[in-house]
Symmetry: C2
Subunit: 336 residues, 2 copies
DNA sequence: TTGACTTTCCAAAACGTTTCGGATGCACTG
DNA sequence: CAGTGCATCCGAAACGTTTTGGAAAGTCAA
């Protein structure tokens, strides 16, 4: 069923070499022959065997990304859209993007080894980056091209693309302060995740800039439940916050639910701001004030960086921090 | 950097054959040799080149699934969790699960061809199945093992796993009827998608069973916006429905938002029921009544079916319809 | 007619693995 | 000592492609 060059060559009365070169459009095969070959290949639905091709070419023509299945960074919708855009751009260069779900860090590292040492991928996208990231260390040691989505502690040494969550949270904090809030709490995601770390830094900087005192902070898993529980806790504290800066929209959605349960209305009694602008964020009650990366084409830019890295470009030329845009809706009013 | 059997054999003073067989645990290599080989392989982090291996073995040891990027079926969180579980089970059999994002049906079909005719995948998972599905037709013609997630019009001929959305919607309709609702509308997803078709059938059957008249129906994209717009429209109709059966939770979330905007409270003025039990469904206001597939291990079952298919089992023995469980929360009260 | 050049094609090697069909040496049997 | 059987190893072919280094035939100028 699966046809190959040999069959094709036999039916055409040509050599394997010529057929191969015809399909690849080399100039040393006659135009008429090339067209004849192409027609035949099309007729039998020939597709080159990818194992044989990448064995010979010594490259997989594939970019891989592992999908750690714990919650975090943005929720999949946004995230997958980014990867879809990335994949489209990569396809133009003849590169496949393949996603590999992994459960747990150990399994993820083993996948990395199979990918890299087994020659399954020519380049890698690292997502859900941590400040100290063993995957980045591994890839640097193996000297395989990669781009991280999110920075690391040693981001100056590798290619990355990231949103400026720090600035976003600084601005959001200052926005709340300018509205009169003085107790602006932060519900943070696990601090080993770089994005969570930076957003917390931004919140801190905003407080300092506005000469506000140290405010409450609560660590949470980046899920609705995490946000719900953190908010319940914050509301029980002696100096209850009037503003809630949530590391992610998922957290914020949980926070909204907790507020309602306590008879508080978001945007009037307590201000809430999230990050990511999830599709459902516009449909919460009240609609969630949030922020998002301003670029419409992160995935495409990510692809460009990968292509550049594969072309040998210096990773230090490939470091993009994208501005973050506030998406004000109804949950960030002045304190009453 | 990338080490291979030849190097390994040279440093060990053995033949490539023996090294290969030692690593694969054949019994015709001495125990002491085998251990020596394994130690050396471990030391240099040897991983077999996957292209060479699958070229020789004539199989890719890979199961593929394309991810169509339009919205639909369940939102990614649930969906990816299922695939992650599937991938874990497949890994136990030495199979990789790879996800390939695709944009548009044409691109998806081209990906299928590269996967199948190019020998990149030994089996395929079809998601977001349609009643008449060109992908299923293609795979059947090529006689490559596959399992669909969701049925097709010709489901009796192939392996599938699916939730019993029809029964779920029938029950939900009868539940609302038993609470006193008489005008139960349905917000449907595009009817070429099997799941949408079946849920609509279930709603219809429920109405018939309760001797309720034909009720309003509105087609929507399976997104929050779709649900929002459909609900706005339904509320403007002369005989406004008191119950809203939404094809998906995303739709239901949009519906909740529209109801609120019209000053109606869900669960009191209008009953709303969704499907999928998204993580955020527990955190809407009021918490969304919905339903979900009762099995905790759909992904794992899916993997088992793939393994069985790869083992040559008849697809007609591999057809699972999983029960759907109602998840009642606060949006399905009696009409006032 | 000869030589140089161009056009068009091809044989064979190589990529790294698995596997078939022995080969070698040794112990044991009769 | 010949014969048998076993334990351990290995050479070589094969998987399907790309690519190197020509070969063959035709064209053209001198």
């Amino acid at each position: 069923m699966m046809s190959n060059l040999k069959q094709l060559a036999q039916t055409l009365g040509l050599s394997i070499t010529t057929v191969s070169r015809a399909l690849d459009g080399y100039s040393d095969v006659a135009v008429v022959t090339r067209e004849r070959v192409r027609a035949a290949a099309h007729a039998i639905n020939y597709r080159p065997n990818s194992a044989a091709r990448s064995l010979r070419r010594r490259k997989a023509e594939t970019v891989a990304v592992t999908l750690p299945m714990e919650p975090g960074r943005f929720g999949p919708p946004v995230f997958l859209n980014m990867l879809a855009a990335c994949s489209q751009r990569l396809a133009e260069e003849g590169l496949d993007l393949m996603l590999l779900p992994t459960a747990g860090r150990a399994a993820e590292m083993e996948t990395y080894r199979r990918l890299v040492d087994g020659g399954r991928a020519d380049a890698i996208i690292v997502v859900r980056t941590r400040l100290e990231d063993e995957r980045v260390a591994f890839l640097k040691e193996r000297a395989i091209p990669f781009v991280t989505h999110g920075r690391t502690a040693r981001a100056h040494e590798h290619a990355f693309i990231d949103g400026d969550g720090e600035a976003g949270f600084r601005e959001a904090t200052r926005l709340l302060a300018s509205l009169g809030h003085r107790r602006i709490a932060h519900i943070s995601a696990p601090q080993d995740l770089t994005f969570a770390h930076l957003r917390r830094i931004g919140w801190h900087a905003g407080l300092a800039h506005e000469n506000l005192p140290e405010a409450l902070e609560c660590a949470a898993r980046p899920t609705e439940i995490g946000g719900y529980e953190a908010t319940r806790w914050l509301l029980q504290q002696p100096s209850r916050p009037t503003g809630l800066l949530c590391a992610t929209d998922s957290i914020a959605i949980g926070a909204l639910s907790a507020l309602k349960e306590c008879g508080l209305v978001a945007g009037r009694d307590v201000a809430v701001i999230g990050h990511d602008n999830l599709p459902s964020a516009a449909f919460t009650d009240p609609p969630l004030s949030t922020m998002e990366i301003a670029a419409p084409d992160v995935g495409c830019q990510l692809a460009e960086m990968l292509i550049a890295r594969l072309g040998g470009r210096d990773p230090r030329d490939l470091q993009t921090i994208l501005p973050v845009r506030q998406v004000p809706r109804a949950t960030h009013g002045r304190p009453n």
